[in-house]
């Protein structure tokens, strides 16, 4: 029975996870009595400089407002009532009076709550959980918020207090919310299609009146005032620079010529034809407000059909991105990784009998890698860019590289070490990426100097692989120190066959002579020795990649700024990695360090890499500074301290190496 299980578990467990992931790829069933939010979320919009589906706009907006991709309509209740991003944005765009009561503004800073006169703690009667507040609750205090944000905005971003940061963040959120409210129709519209029609029909009379007024003749005051009132309203809408919902009139001439609704309507008064999109959205809005599911769904699909001609490219890009959003590959890949980690631990408990657990872990890591890679490729296709374009995607790619390296190590040694690296680094890097994604759109446009796929594909990819491999070496060394300090494992072979063989000679391996047991020797080295070889090999690899990546960066700089090396902080960070890796190799070759020293230096490599990856961005200077939050600094410091602690453990607490075997 157990032996059958052992044979099937390595296949069955990953297969179950794979089924779950595949299941999430299917589009949710659209019930005929429900608003077609799935379809609405698929409509293209130009926001943040790029075409995206309304679904992305909704998710990124919620991320910015409340650090989640969904809204909770009643967080003060025990069981959350979740609202999908698109459902939420439909309310904001078309039915503001209900949207305004949804608690989507996350505010944690007590001083800021005080400024806005918000309840501090969870209070069912006041409809708050003490963290999330609605537009209706903060609307009254916008002036006070604006004053504070004007003040805090002038403070250098590195010198802002937590309160200042909260103020700046919230006022950004308020701006965003107002833009969304005014994207489809004026926020104070009550019967938008009627108001729109009245405006469009009144244009000729209004324009005549305006001409007459200008010429000093008698004019139709009612028509004039009406037109002016509408224009003022649309101008206010347009001034907010809301997402651009209105596609270009002639997409062949200018694919970029999207407009926001307000601007499109103002153009109508100057005689420009009004895009079919304005009327289509007005129709959706009317049906939505009236609760008429059938008409709404028909309006959405009519609009999609109207776009199918000249705007097919935008329309299908939006649809693809919506699919990608639902897929959430980088989130889903975390599950196989963490499961793999657990199975490696099982394998380590009893290497001789639990080879099945190792095989399960291998398959799980492969599954994770498959999903991870699928996401990476999907993202590349969507963006039309190489894999790494910003800090967020560098985290994803570092994870990708580390997982592959770990699998390579595992295929050589088969002792679970490579799997620990793959699963742990894969998981952790995706967690980091997840936190980086909370800043909003992760597919933002590339500034002019970065707008070159050749260098993004070479320099950035190679240098990121350099980071990944330096981390892998560092974490292998961490394993060495931990295993050597808290277990005897370093002096035992770790593969299943070796462990099984060793257990036959049990009396012989208990003593210090373990290394010379023929069986142990035959089936690869003891764990400690093989870890040393792994670390050494990976550092060679890391030196190659970080060096080539860094020099390619220099060559890029030479191409775009006219200097190969400018001592820019990010360049220096990469240089330190190269120097440090070269130093480890030379110290090893010169016999200046042995196993223990090699490990401690490799762990220090973790600090060096983390500094280069994140730390230099926090200096806020130079050409690569992307701006960063103070919270990340605390994490970085904590990470560095933990590594220093591990180095100390390695130097002082690590058990003496067993007598040399060979």
């Amino acid at each position: 029975m157990f032996s059958v299980m052992k044979r099937w578990l390595p296949i069955a467990i990953p297969a179950l996870l794979a089924l779950w992931i595949a299941g999430s790829l299917l589009p949710p069933k659209q019930k005929p009595d429900q608003f077609a939010s799935e379809l609405f979320g698929r409509l293209p919009v130009l926001a943040n400089g790029r075409i995206q589906p309304i679904d992305s706009l909704a998710r990124n907006s919620l991320l910015q407002l409340r650090e989640k991709q969904t809204a909770n309509t009643a967080p003060w209740k025990g069981n959350p009532k979740m609202l999908a991003a698109t459902d939420w944005i439909m309310e904001v765009m078309m039915k503001p009076e209900t949207a305004d009561a949804l608690p989507v503004f996350r505010i944690d800073n007590p001083d800021l709550k005080g400024l806005l006169g918000l309840p501090m703690d969870a209070d069912k009667d006041k409809k708050t959980d003490g963290k999330h507040y609605s537009w209706a609750q903060i609307r009254g205090k916008l002036e006070a918020l604006q004053d504070e944000s004007m003040r805090a905005g002038k403070v250098d971003s590195s010198k802002r207090t937590p309160y200042d940061q909260a103020v700046v963040r919230l006022s950004g959120g308020v701006g965003l919310y107002m833009r969304l409210q005014n994207a489809l129709q004026p926020q104070n519209a009550r019967d938008w299609p009627a108001e729109l029609n009245a405006y469009l029909n009144g244009i000729p009379a209004g324009v005549d009146a305006a001409r007459a007024q200008k010429a000093g003749k008698e004019y139709n005051k009612e028509a004039f005032d009406g037109l002016m009132r509408d224009l003022e309203r649309f101008d206010a809408m347009s001034q907010l620079e809301p997402p651009m919902l209105v596609p270009p009139a002639d997409p062949e001439a200018s694919r970029d010529g999207w407009q926001n609704t307000g601007a499109a309507l103002m153009d109508a008064a100057r005689g420009a034809p009004v895009s079919f999109a304005v009327a289509a959205y007005a129709r959706m809005s009317a049906a939505y407000r009236a609760g008429n599911v059938g008409q709404f769904n028909e309006a959405v699909s009519d609009y999609r059909n109207a776009m199918a001609g000249q705007l097919l490219a935008e329309s299908s890009k939006a649809a693809n991105e919506q699919f990608f959003n639902r897929f959430e590959p980088f989130y889903k890949a975390m599950f196989p990784y963490i499961a793999a980690f657990l199975f490696v631990l099982i394998f380590w408990m009893a290497p001789a009998t639990c080879e099945w657990a190792r095989r399960t872990a291998v398959n799980l890591v492969l599954l994770g890698l498959l999903v991870h890679t699928a996401g990476l490729v999907f993202r590349m296709v969507l963006q039309g860019r190489p894999p790494v374009t910003n800090l967020y995607s560098s985290a994803i790619f570092i994870g990708f590289g580390a997982v592959i390296l770990g699998l390579v190590l595992e295929s050589i040694w088969k002792n679970g070490i490579g799997l620990v690296i793959s699963s742990a680094l894969g998981f952790v890097s995706l967690i980091i990426a997840h936190h980086l994604s909370l800043d909003g759109d992760t597919m933002e446009m590339m500034r002019a100097v970065l707008d070159t796929n050749f260098w993004l594909a070479t320099h950035v990819v190679v240098v990121t692989l350099g980071y990944a491999s330096t981390f892998v070496a560092g974490f292998l060394a961490v394993l060495y120190v931990l295993l050597g300090t808290f277990t005897n494992r370093l002096h035992q072979p770790m593969t299943a066959t070796a462990a099984a063989a060793a257990s036959l000679h049990a009396p012989e391996i208990s003593g210090p002579a373990a290394g010379v047991v023929p069986a142990a020797k035959s089936s690869g080295l003891e764990l400690g020795k093989s870890l040393t070889k792994m670390v050494y090999g990976v550092i060679c690899f890391a030196t190659l990649f970080s060096f080539v990546g860094t020099v390619l960066g220099g060559i890029w700089a030479d191409q775009s700024w006219g200097r190969f090396w400018g001592w820019d902080p990010k360049e220096n960070g990469a240089l330190i990695i190269v120097l440090w890796n070269a130093l480890i190799l030379h110290a090893r070759w010169g016999g200046l360090v042995r196993d223990r020293g090699l490990m401690c230096m490799a762990i220090f490599g973790n600090i060096v890499t983390a500094w280069s990856w994140f730390g230099v961005n926090m200096l806020g200077i130079g050409l690569h500074s992307y701006g960063f939050t103070a919270a990340a600094f605390v994490w970085l410091l904590g990470f560095a301290l933990s590594q220093v602690l591990l180095i100390c453990v390695g130097l002082f607490a690590l058990k003496k190496t067993a007598p040399q075997a060979v």
Partner: protein, 528 residues
């Protein structure tokens, strides 16, 4: 230390490790130093130096090795080690390639530091330039007509001016006495300063008259209510005279206007507060599209002077020189620029002395047009201008393009279409220069200079090109290729050995005697 020990030290791996370690420390500290010292200064102090100097009690003490020392010692170490241990063989080929590549990179970088020259061409559409200007250095020039329509120029580099002494040149029939010199300064005309002073004085007078009668308080409060900032000033002022209910400032003003004594106190408070705000605003006014740098500096000067209750009149504004064109100019020294994007505008006051007789004093500054000087009947023009490098060809800006992504301020494309005319070669060609696509011509490279959003808007129709002369620009390309090749070769060599070695013992249980490697070889590759 005798030469044998020295040789031993220079060929040791230990030295390599020490150099690399020092490199790590230096690069780390030098990067941190950039936060306070600015990119440029930190570079020259840490990386482009032999030692890091620290002033302790007025004495400069070297505290650490600079980039040059570490780089040169590493270079010597590399060359010496290879001289000592060089053995030809396939086993070591990768190491040789790698190290040769590193030597190329180090030498190339030192050469770049010493020989490369950066300058800029900044022009409007349609403008033609046959020179580029230095980003940091300026020169004092004396131009005289050479006869054939060209000018003969005698120039003195800025460091000579900085000594503030007498300077002379064999082809100039006079001595130049540097009476005053500032690394960074603004030269303002008296007109600008008086205008700024006038504007500020008028504004302050208006302010005082607005708050002269108790009846005016309520209407003023009404007006203040339109702006949140002004409302806040009102509230603060009301609180300071003991008013508690300050929510509605108009109502409060109405109440107080009925009590003459408190009304007067409130008015004094308001005038004081608004005056302070106004002075702060003037003294911090940034230069922009509408306000030139000189106008902004005039405002700053005027605000500071009026803040000290001094008057700004024709007499109270200092003159740069007692006579001549400098009489109507004022020199305003400014702090030195730290940022890479801003440059210093040096200014000097020079006196031209011929045969012991002063021919007059002049203010020179890059923002001023060349001024004429007549000495012994011969006329010269003088200017302190950005150091120029003349080229045997000219560049004309035909079209400058600045694009941002729709609906954002993320720059999308900066592009300059230029025409290069070279009378020497008869070339007349048009070319596009944009980010990541420089023009390499005549040993120079022309790059599209990066611009921010503000510049993109403000300087439409103009463009700046960075012009670099770097004879060793190709070394990193070769160096990188060599190192990469070398490392790949070496690691593959070992990897193949390693895998072969692993394969061998693993098949041991089944085939006991199979493929056992000779122990000597196994030992040789086990430490790699």
């Amino acid at each position: 230390m005798n030469s044998r020990t020295l040789w031993k030290v220079f060929t040791s791996l230990r030295l390599t490790v020490i150099c690399l370690g020092c490199g790590v420390v230096l690069v780390f500290l030098g990067t941190l130093a950039q936060v306070n010292e600015g990119l440029y200064d930190a570079q020259s102090r840490w990386f482009k130096a032999f030692f890091i100097w620290v002033s302790a009690g007025g004495i400069r003490v070297p505290v650490f090795f600079g980039g040059y020392t570490i780089g040169l010692v590493l270079l010597a170490n590399l060359l010496a080690s290879h001289a000592k241990r060089f053995v030809w063989g396939w086993r070591k080929l990768g190491i040789h390639l790698t190290h040769f590549g590193v030597v190329l990179l180090l030498v190339g970088q030192l050469a770049t530091d010493w020989f490369s020259k950066e300058s800029f061409m900044s022009f409007r559409e349609g403008q033609t330039l046959n020179y580029s200007e230095d980003h940091r250095d300026s020169e004092l020039v004396f131009l005289s007509e050479a006869g054939n329509g060209e000018d003969r120029a005698v120039s003195f580099a800025e460091p000579i001016l900085a000594k503030r002494k007498e300077i002379l040149h064999e082809s100039l029939p006079f001595v130049v006495r540097v009476k005053e010199y500032h690394t960074n300064a603004d030269v303002l005309t008296h007109k600008e300063v008086l205008e700024a002073g006038g504007r500020l004085t008028t504004a302050l007078a208006t302010l005082a008259s607005e708050f002269s009668t108790p009846e005016g308080l309520a209407p003023q409060a009404e007006r203040a209510r339109e702006s949140e900032g002004r409302t806040q000033v009102w509230r603060d002022a009301l609180k300071s005279i003991g008013e508690t209910d300050v929510k509605d400032i108009v109502a409060a003003a109405g109440r107080i206007s009925k009590e003459p004594e408190r009304a007067a106190r409130l008015e004094a408070e308001l005038v004081g507060r608004f005056r302070k705000e106004m002075l702060t605003r003037f003294s911090q006014m940034p230069a922009s599209e509408r306000v030139s740098r000189e106008q902004a500096d005039s405002m700053h000067y005027a605000a500071q002077k009026i803040g000290r209750n001094e008057l700004i009149t024709e007499e109270s504004v200092p003159s740069a020189t007692s006579a001549g064109p400098g009489k109507d100019l004022m020199l305003l020294p400014l702090p030195e620029e730290k940022s890479m994007d801003e440059r210093n505008m040096p200014a000097a006051v020079i006196e031209v002395v011929s045969n012991g007789q002063s021919a007059g004093e002049w203010v020179v500054w890059p923002g001023l047009a060349p001024q004429s000087i007549t000495v012994n009947g011969k006329s010269y023009r003088t200017a302190l201008r950005f150091e120029r490098y003349y080229h045997p060809f000219s560049v004309t800006l035909l079209k400058a393009t600045h694009e941002v992504y729709r609906g954002t301020d993320i720059p999308r494309n900066f592009q300059s279409r230029v025409r290069v005319d070279n009378p020497g070669t008869g070339e007349h060609r048009e070319v596009d220069i944009y980010m990541n696509n420089p023009l390499r011509y005549a040993g120079l490279t022309f790059y599209q200079y990066q611009m921010g959003q503000a510049e993109a808007e403000g300087r439409a129709g103009s463009s700046t090109l960075e012009v670099v002369r770097n004879p060793s620009w190709l070394t990193p390309y070769f160096g990188c290729a060599l190192v990469a090749l070398g490392m790949i070769y070496q690691f593959l060599f070992h990897l193949i050995n390693f895998i072969a070695k692993r394969r061998a013992p693993r098949s041991l249980p089944e085939k006991p005697a199979a493929k056992r490697r000779p122990p000597a070889l196994a030992a040789a590759s086990s430490n790699t």
